[in-house]
């Protein structure tokens, strides 16, 4: 039969010689490889005490952004939901009442916002579609859980800490991604 590549090597099925039947040289050769690794650099790290730096294009858990005054950016325009290839995002909009101006930036806002993390594939299309700078994929992993019901992320789970009440938490949650995206634009 004609081989498909030139890397094919036929299996040697000839009977073993006495030297090979002793096995000892092979064991010594194998142990040599094993012990040589003691002197090499350790490729693993002690997660979670130590973490590796993320690649600048890493896409992690979604966050819903706020502006500098702590108002929610999202206006429930539905572009993230229509861009989502996994159909993970659903939302329900409401009208801002007088007196709620400090909570929501525009007159329409997302009263309900959900991402089904069992469906999400972290493609980042929601971030690209968003006209209001409201959704970002952050630099953190999605935490694991035993229950499937814990993976339906509500608005409370996704919202970034309020920059007025918790500026440290806000900065940490936002990470570098938002600044990078602004630079690109």
């Amino acid at each position: 039969m004609q081989s498909l590549t030139n890397r094919v090597q036929p299996v040697d099925r000839s009977p073993m010689t006495i030297w090979e039947k002793m096995y000892l040289p092979a064991i010594v050769k194998g142990m040599g490889i094993t012990f040589s690794h003691i002197f090499k650099k350790n490729p693993t790290i002690n997660f979670p005490e130590k973490t590796r730096p993320f690649s600048p294009v890493f896409r992690g858990l979604q966050i819903l952004n706020r502006d500098e005054e702590g108002r929610e950016n999202c206006t429930a325009c539905g572009l993230c939901a229509v861009a989502c290839p996994a159909e993970a995002i659903t939302m329900e909009a409401a009208e801002r009442l007088p007196g709620e101006e400090h909570l929501y930036r525009e007159e329409k806002y997302a009263a309900k916002y959900e991402i089904n993390m069992l469906r999400c594939i972290f493609c980042g299309f929601c971030e690209e579609a968003c006209p209001k700078d409201a959704i970002y994929l952050s630099e953190s992993f999605m935490p694991s859980d035993y229950l499937r019901s814990q993976f339906i992320y509500k608005k409370e789970d996704l919202l970034i800490p309020n920059p007025k009440e918790d500026p440290e938490g806000y900065k940490k949650a936002l990470g570098n991604r938002a600044a990078q995206k602004k630079q690109k634009d």
Binding site: T75, A76, C77, G78, L79, A81, V82, T90, M91, E92, A93, A94, E95, L97, E100, E106, E107, K108, A111, K112, E114, N116, P131, K132, R148, S149, I152, K154
Partner: protein
């Protein structure tokens, strides 16, 4: 007299068509199909006297007529120019027309707030379509966009004057469909605004048609306000026996599941109301705002949506949900679900029926 009934030959983008004398260029172009017709923002063939305001339908007339084949010196508004024998019209084949249309779009968008993420019209907005087709990405204006004090024009219709392009269609609807017009365009120039003088509610049986004729999101349905995006609702054709004289009873329902979120009149490919038996299919306010149950209507079938429209994004193909056969196959046992999404999700809860609210939802509506 026989000569007067003679059909007129006119060439639009190198395609010759025969039309009745007295037809306008845009109506002749519409006979050829939607890709040949110039876009129109203010012209509405069902409203007498409409057109000539927005200038998006500009075309080049390369030869005025067979008797006088000189070209017209300037681009003409095709909605107001009648055809002549042997006229040669250039629409998309003319660089000048496309360039002028880009300019017109830039002008229309000078004062437009571009708040499409909030606007309920987004997805079925003709200004959105037009600016995608003809607009430039940036704007050159350095002035502040005009703003208006928000005016309440009643419990059914929401007016956003900042989005208005002053096409006068809603004024003509009020003039030609209803017995009394209470709104109009007040002030002039930059301050020209749709308004009721002095603060009146627009209240008559056919006022809802103002929403349908509005090419932008200046007039929107208050009972549908912010409830859902157009492309997440499923349009179906439906009809009911309406006693209101003048109401055709044929409408498009925009559904989410069994909930009727919005009722509009049926649209033809040019965004105007469809005609039934030669009469435009206006619908009355009772049909539009009060009949928000599927039991009020006889559903005929899915509305045909253009392949390129975002409304088709929900990829629906059939009206009925396919039959669930798992229980049957498993001898009457229900499948064991790992998780029922409806017990976890807070969106689309059955106890909150948004379609029954005749106003936009507020934060307290979701706290039930």
């Amino acid at each position: 007299m026989a000569e007067e009934n003679k059909k007129i030959k006119i060439t639009i983008d190198n395609i010759t068509v025969e039309v009745e004398p007295g037809t306008t260029i845009v109506e002749a172009a519409r006979l050829l199909g939607s890709e040949f017709a110039p876009p129109t923002m203010c012209f509405y063939s069902k409203l007498e006297g409409s057109g000539g305001k927005c200038r998006t339908c500009l075309v080049e007339v390369a030869a005025g007529s067979a008797a006088d084949p000189r070209p017209m010196p300037k681009l003409v508004a095709s909605c107001r120019t009648q055809v002549m024998e042997g006229m040669v019209v250039k629409n998309i084949t003319s660089e000048r027309v496309l360039d002028a249309r880009n300019g017109v779009v830039e002008f229309l968008l000078i004062n437009h707030p571009l708040d499409c993420p909030i606007c309920d019209q987004a997805g079925e907005c003709y200004l959105q379509d037009l600016s995608y087709d003809h607009g430039k990405v940036g704007t050159r204006t350095e002035f502040v966009r005009r703003t208006f004090k928000r005016e309440d024009i009643g419990p059914l219709i929401q007016l956003h004057m900042t989005r208005c392009i002053l096409c006068y269609r809603c004024v003509m609807v009020a003039d030609q469909l209803t017995n009394k017009r209470v709104h109009g365009i007040v002030d002039r120039g930059d301050k020209a605004a749709i308004s009721t003088y002095i603060s009146k509610a627009i209240d008559n049986d056919f006022s809802g048609n103002m929403i349908d004729v509005c090419p932008v999101g200046a007039l929107t349905d208050k009972t549908f306000r912010f409830k859902n995006r157009v492309w997440f609702t499923k349009p179906v054709d439906a009809h009911r026996d309406c006693e209101t004289p003048g109401c055709c009873g044929k409408a498009t329902l925009w559904l989410r599941g069994e909930e009727v979120f919005r009722v509009t009149s049926r649209k033809d490919p040019w965004g105007e109301v469809q005609s039934f038996d030669g009469k435009p299919g206006w619908i009355c306010n009772a049909c539009r705002f009060d009949k928000k149950k599927t039991s009020d209507w006889v559903v005929e079938g899915l509305t045909q949506i253009s392949r390129h429209s975002v409304i088709g994004a929900n990829k629906y193909k059939v009206l009925d949900v396919p039959k669930e056969t798992i229980t049957e196959v498993m001898d009457g046992r229900d499948p064991k679900l790992l998780m029922n999404i409806h017990s976890v999700s807070g969106v689309n809860r059955p106890e909150i029926d948004l379609s029954k609210l005749n106003r936009p939802a507020h934060s307290d509506d979701f706290e039930k």
